[in-house]
Symmetry: C2
Subunit: 116 residues, 2 copies
Amino acid sequence: MEKTPENCQVEDALGILVGKWKPVILLYLLQEGTKRFSELKRKMPGITQKMLTKQLRELEDEDIIQRVVYAQVPPKVEYSMTEYGRSLEPVLDAMHDWGAKHTVRKVVKADQVKSS
Amino acid sequence: MEKTPENCQVEDALGILVGKWKPVILLYLLQEGTKRFSELKRKMPGITQKMLTKQLRELEDEDIIQRVVYAQVPPKVEYSMTEYGRSLEPVLDAMHDWGAKHTVRKVVKADQVKSS
DNA sequence: CCCCTAAGTATCTTTTTGTATACTATACCA
DNA sequence: TGGTATAGTATACAAAAAGATACTTAGGGG
């Protein structure tokens, strides 16, 4: 498909990746494989249980990750990437590469005025 | 640099690209070059003036786009990508490619329970 | 009997984003 | 003299995302 701003497919990938914690969750699952809820939580100090649950649910709803519940007490729930989810790897890679090369800038600049 | 979730550079690129209209603005500027404020606005029916201004300001603050004001009345202001901004092209491409190949899914699925 | 654990829910509040509308300045045109 | 065009700002409001805190469930250990 043609790359025009009108059929902006960029939004789709963006929609999936947006969420304060989603990229981190995806990187963990991509690089370290299946993880339990509590393992993810430990890896991300600062995230609340509610937030982690919500992000995971959203990723699951979009078929990016898979959730498997073990019928035991205390509960055990494992999360892993789906095949479909793995297709996002190039996107995450491109973003990671960019981030690694470019430090984010914060610029304060004066207006550039042309007299023409 | 190593790709670990801990040094999650993915967030940086994401931070820049997030905003309901930013990807579209960037695609326009990347593919069609310098654009005036009013041209961008016409291209994006639905965006309010305030929002367009805000998105442009944020992109400018991060040195992704450049703003040039012409000292004339009625005002003329032109926006274009910076060199730095152009470095985001591979990221936008990766997202676009993904979006073109994969329709976004919305899945409703029952829990997968394992008895072990 | 009581506490611990794991993976959540349920509420409530705060912060961030986005929308809607109205208003401004000033040269040019009829 | 009044209307048009451009690139905004100001204000108020609505909606979405994020954060804080407390509560739940049920088996196992002491």
